[in-house]
C-alpha cells in the first residue's frame, strides 16, 4: 500500500486585516483595524484584526455599531481581490517548504508535505517553523498536520496547539470539533443542526446518513466525510509542479560568485542527467535562491531549442548570476525546469566527447547566448504593401520563412528611419520635389522619381492614415533618399542604396 499523503494546513484567522496592514505601513500598529463591505444599504464588518476581535468585534456586525463600541477603531473598505491575490502570493512563498502548496480562500493555505518533512527535521519542526515564519511576516497563524487535507484544515481552524494527527486517526481527532467553525458551514445550517442537538463533527457523523442528506443536502455529508478523512478531494497546487527540479540546502550560507557558480554547475549537472533519462530538453529554467533573511531571488533563462547541455546552460546563467545580491548569503537553491520539450538522443547533449556538434546546434547555442542580452529577430515577410508592415520580427529559432516571389523590390530602401525625419521640400509647379531643407541646409535635388502612391490598407477598417506619395530623390552628392509626402508633410523615411 502506498504510504499516506501528509498535509499541513494553515489557518490565518485575521488574514484580510493583517494583509492590508502589510500593504499600509502608515496605519498605526496599536489601534484595532476592521474591514467593511457594503451589503445592500448596510455597511457590515467583513474582517477584523486580533485587537478588534479581542474587543468583541466580529465579522457580520454593522459598521456603525462597531464604531460605537470602539471609538478608536480604524476602518477601511475590504478589498477581496487584493487579499485573494495576496493569498496566492503567500502560497508561492510557502513553496519554500514543498513544491505543492495551494491557497485555500479566503484565509487558508494547504501544503502537501509528503516526503518533505525530513528536510526540516520532522513534521513537528516543520509545522513550528511554518507558523514561526508566518508570524515573522506579521501573520497570526494556526496549523495542523494530518493525512487528509480537510481534516488538517478543520483542526487548524479550531485548535491553536498545532496538532499532528497520525494517519488513520483523523476521524477521532476531528470528532470533538464544533461544526460551524471547523467546517465553515453557513450560519443557518449550524443553527438547524444545533436544534437537532448536533454541535460537533462527531455528533453529526454518528447520525444515520440518509435523513441528514435529505434535510441538509449532499454538501454537508461531503464536508463531514472529507473532514473525517473518508474522502480526499484533490487539492490544486498554486503552480503546476515543474517538470523537474533540483534543490540543494546548504549547511553554511554561501555568498561568493565562485561558490554560487560552482553550486549552479552541480545543480545543472544533476538536472541535465534527469532530463537525459526522461528524454527531455529544457526550454526554460529558473534558479531560485533563498537568502538567510528569508527573502528569495529568482533568475530565469530560456533557450530557443530544447537543451540539456549543462555547460551551455551554465553559460546562459552566467550573465544573470551577477545580478544576485547575496548580502548575508544564500542557504538554499532550487533549479526548476519550468518548460521542457522532448529531445532525442541525437541532441548535442548526448554526443560522445570530441564529436563535432551539428552546425544547427551550434547556431542555436549562439542564438541562445546572444538572446539573453540582445533582441534577436528573423525577418518574416508579410502580405502588405504598407512599408511598416512588410515584414514582422519572428523568433530567431523558427525555421526561416521562404520569401514569396515578388516580395521586396528594386525601389525599396535599404534602411528605414526608426523615426521619420521632418524636412521642408520646395516643389516644381507640377509637384515634383526641387530642393529640400534638411538638417539646417538647403540641398538642391538633382533627380527625383515618383510619386509612387500608396493607399492605406482600408480593408483592415478603423481610422486610416492618409495616403502616401513616395519620391526617390538624389542629392548633388549622389546620396539617395526616400521621401514621403503624406497629409501635407514631407519626411525622410529611408535611405536608398
Amino acid at each position: 500500500m502506498k504510504p499516506a499523503r501528509r498535509y499541513l494546513a494553515v489557518h490565518l484567522p485575521f488574514w484580510e486585516a493583517e494583509h492590508l496592514r502589510q500593504s499600509h505601513p502608515d496605519l498605526p500598529a496599536d489601534t484595532p483595524l476592521a474591514l467593511w463591505a457594503r451589503q445592500g444599504a448596510r455597511r457590515l464588518l467583513v474582517a477584523v484584526d486580533q485587537a478588534a476581535a479581542a474587543a468583541g468585534l466580529e465579522p457580520g456586525q454593522a459598521l456603525a455599531d462597531a464604531e460605537a463600541l470602539l471609538p478608536d477603531l480604524q476602518v477601511l473598505p475590504a478589498t477581496p481581490e487584493t487579499s485573494a491575490a495576496g493569498l496566492r502570493e503567500l502560497a508561492l512563498w510557502a513553496q519554500r517548504f514543498t513544491p505543492l502548496s495551494a491557497p485555500l480562500p479566503p484565509d487558508g493555505l494547504l501544503l502537501d508535505i509528503t516526503g518533505c518533512d525530513h528536510l526540516f527535521g520532522g513534521e513537528a519542526t516543520l509545522l513550528t517553523k511554518t507558523l514561526a515564519d508566518l508570524a515573522a511576516l506579521g501573520l497570526t497563524a494556526q496549523g495542523a498536520v494530518a493525512s487528509a487535507a480537510a481534516s488538517a484544515m478543520a483542526l487548524a481552524r479550531v485548535q491553536r496547539d498545532a496538532p499532528i494527527i497520525a494517519a488513520g486517526s483523523e476521524e477521532k481527532a476531528v470528532a470533538p470539533l464544533p461544526l460551524g467553525l471547523a467546517l465553515r458551514l453557513p450560519g443557518g445550517m449550524v443553527e438547524d443542526l444545533a436544534r437537532l442537538g448536533l454541535r460537533s463533527i462527531g455528533d453529526a457523523l454518528r447520525q444515520p446518513r440518509a435523513p441528514l442528506a435529505r434535510r441538509f443536502g449532499a454538501p454537508l455529508l461531503n464536508a463531514l466525510d472529507a473532514a473525517a478523512g473518508h474522502r480526499a478531494p484533490p487539492i490544486t497546487p498554486i503552480a503546476a509542479p515543474p517538470d523537474l527540479s533540483v534543490t540543494r540546502a546548504l549547511p553554511e550560507p554561501i555568498l561568493t560568485a565562485e561558490a554560487i557558480a560552482a553550486l549552479l554547475d552541480r545543480l545543472l549537472a544533476a538536472l541535465c542527467a534527469r532530463l537525459a533519462r526522461a528524454g527531455l530538453g529544457a526550454r526554460r529554467l529558473s534558479l531560485t535562491a533563498w537568502r538567510v533573511d528569508g527573502t528569495e531571488q529568482r533568475l530565469v533563462i530560456g533557450t530557443g531549442a530544447p537543451n540539456r547541455d549543462a555547460g551551455h546552460l551554465a553559460r546562459l546563467f552566467a550573465e544573470p548570476l551577477a545580478s544576485l545580491a547575496p548580502e548575508l548569503g544564500f542557504e538554499r537553491f532550487t533549479l526548476h525546469a519550468l518548460a521542457t520539450d522532448p529531445m532525442g538522443a541525437e541532441g548535442q547533449g548526448a554526443l560522445p566527447m570530441g564529436a563535432a556538434p551539428r552546425p544547427d546546434g551550434v547556431l542555436a547555442q549562439l542564438l541562445d547566448r546572444l538572446g539573453q542580452r540582445l533582441r534577436l529577430a528573423r525577418p518574416a515577410p508579410m502580405p502588405s504593401h504598407w512599408p511598416e508592415r512588410q515584414w514582422r520580427a519572428a523568433p530567431p529559432h523558427e525555421a526561416a520563412i521562404a520569401t514569396p516571389p515578388g516580395w521586396g523590390s528594386r525601389t525599396a530602401p535599404v534602411l528605414l528611419r526608426r523615426r521619420p525625419e521632418a524636412v521642408q521640400v520646395t516643389t516644381f509647379a507640377e509637384g515634383a520635389p526641387a530642393a529640400m531643407h534638411w538638417r539646417g541646409r538647403v540641398y538642391p535635388l538633382t533627380r527625383a522619381e515618383g510619386p509612387l502612391r500608396l493607399e492605406a490598407e482600408w480593408w483592415h477598417g478603423g481610422t486610416l492614415p492618409p495616403a502616401r506619395d513616395y519620391h526617390r530623390v538624389q542629392l548633388a552628392s549622389g546620396e539617395r533618399l526616400w521621401l514621403c509626402h503624406a497629409g501635407g508633410r514631407w519626411v525622410v523615411q529611408g535611405d536608398l542604396p
Binding site: 540582445l374 528573423r378 515577410p381 526561416a400 520563412i401 535599404v414 552628392s477 549622389g478 529611408g494 535611405d495
Partner: protein
C-alpha cells in the same frame, strides 16, 4: 667577411625553432578553407577577393551605399548572416531592400543591442561561431572601436572562420586590425545605383582604386565602369 658556421647542429635547431615560431605567428584561419569573396568578376584588380575568417571595414559616405555594399558582400559569403546594430542607431536595416543585392531575408538574423558594449560582445561571439556565414556590426560615429577592440574581433573571426564586416561612418581615422578598409560613396545615377569604391588600406598590400562601379541587379554583379580607375 663570411664567418664559417661553427656549430651546424645548433643552427639547425635554431632554424627549426624559427620555422615553428613562424607557424605560430601566422596562424591559419579556420575558415580559410572557403574561397575568398570576390568583388569583381575580373579578380585581377585586387587579388582573389576578401578572405573569410577575417575582419573587414567599410566606411560609407552615405548610409545607403554602405548597407548596399555590405549586403552584396554578405550575399556572396553564403550561410546565415547576423546583422548587429544598437538601439541608438536611428536607421533600421530594411530586409525587403536587401533582396535586390542578393541577400534574402531567410539568411538574415537581426540583432539589436541596448548598448554598444553588448553589440561589440555579440559581434565577437558571432565571429567565433563557425555556424554563421557572416556577421556585420553597424558602428555609429561616436562608438569606441579602437585597435584593441578591432584586434579582438579579428582574432575571433580567425578562430571561427566567419566573414566579419564593420560598417563605419565616413572620415574615421585611427588604427584598426581589420584586414581591409573600403570606402564607398554614392555617385549620381539615372537607374541602377552607382558608387565610387576605393580600397583605403589592406594588410600586406597597397591601397587601390578608386573605381566607379555600378550594380547590375540582373546578374547580381558589380560592373566596373570604363575610365573610372
Amino acid at each position: 667577411m663570411v664567418v664559417p658556421d661553427p656549430d651546424p647542429p645548433r643552427n639547425a635547431a635554431l632554424a627549426r625553432l624559427r620555422a615553428e615560431l613562424a607557424g605560430l605567428t601566422t596562424r591559419t584561419p579556420a575558415g580559410s578553407a572557403g574561397a575568398p569573396i570576390p568583388i569583381f568578376a575580373d579578380n585581377s584588380l585586387i587579388g582573389a577577393g576578401l578572405v573569410r575568417g577575417a575582419l573587414h571595414e567599410v566606411c560609407a559616405a552615405s548610409p545607403g551605399s554602405g548597407v548596399a555594399f555590405a549586403a552584396i558582400l554578405l550575399a556572396r559569403c553564403g550561410g546565415q548572416v547576423l546583422w548587429i546594430a544598437t538601439e541608438q542607431e536611428s536607421n533600421l536595416v530594411w530586409p525587403p531592400g536587401l533582396i535586390p543585392f542578393g541577400l534574402a531575408p531567410e539568411r538574415l538574423i537581426l540583432a539589436r543591442a541596448a548598448r554598444w558594449p553588448e553589440a561589440l560582445w555579440a559581434m565577437e561571439e558571432a565571429l567565433r561561431c563557425p555556424a554563421l556565414g557572416g556577421a556585420v556590426l553597424m558602428a555609429g560615429a561616436g562608438q569606441g572601436l579602437d585597435l584593441t577592440a578591432t584586434r579582438r574581433l579579428h582574432l575571433a573571426a580567425e578562430a571561427g572562420g566567419v566573414f566579419g564586416l564593420l560598417l563605419r561612418p565616413d572620415g574615421i581615422a585611427g588604427a584598426s586590425a581589420a584586414r581591409t578598409r573600403w570606402h564607398i560613396a554614392p555617385l549620381s545615377s539615372t537607374d541602377a545605383p552607382r558608387w565610387r569604391l576605393s580600397l583605403l588600406r589592406q594588410r600586406g598590400g597597397a591601397p587601390a582604386g578608386p573605381w566607379n562601379i555600378a550594380f547590375e541587379a540582373a546578374t547580381g554583379s558589380l560592373r566596373l565602369e570604363a575610365g573610372g580607375g
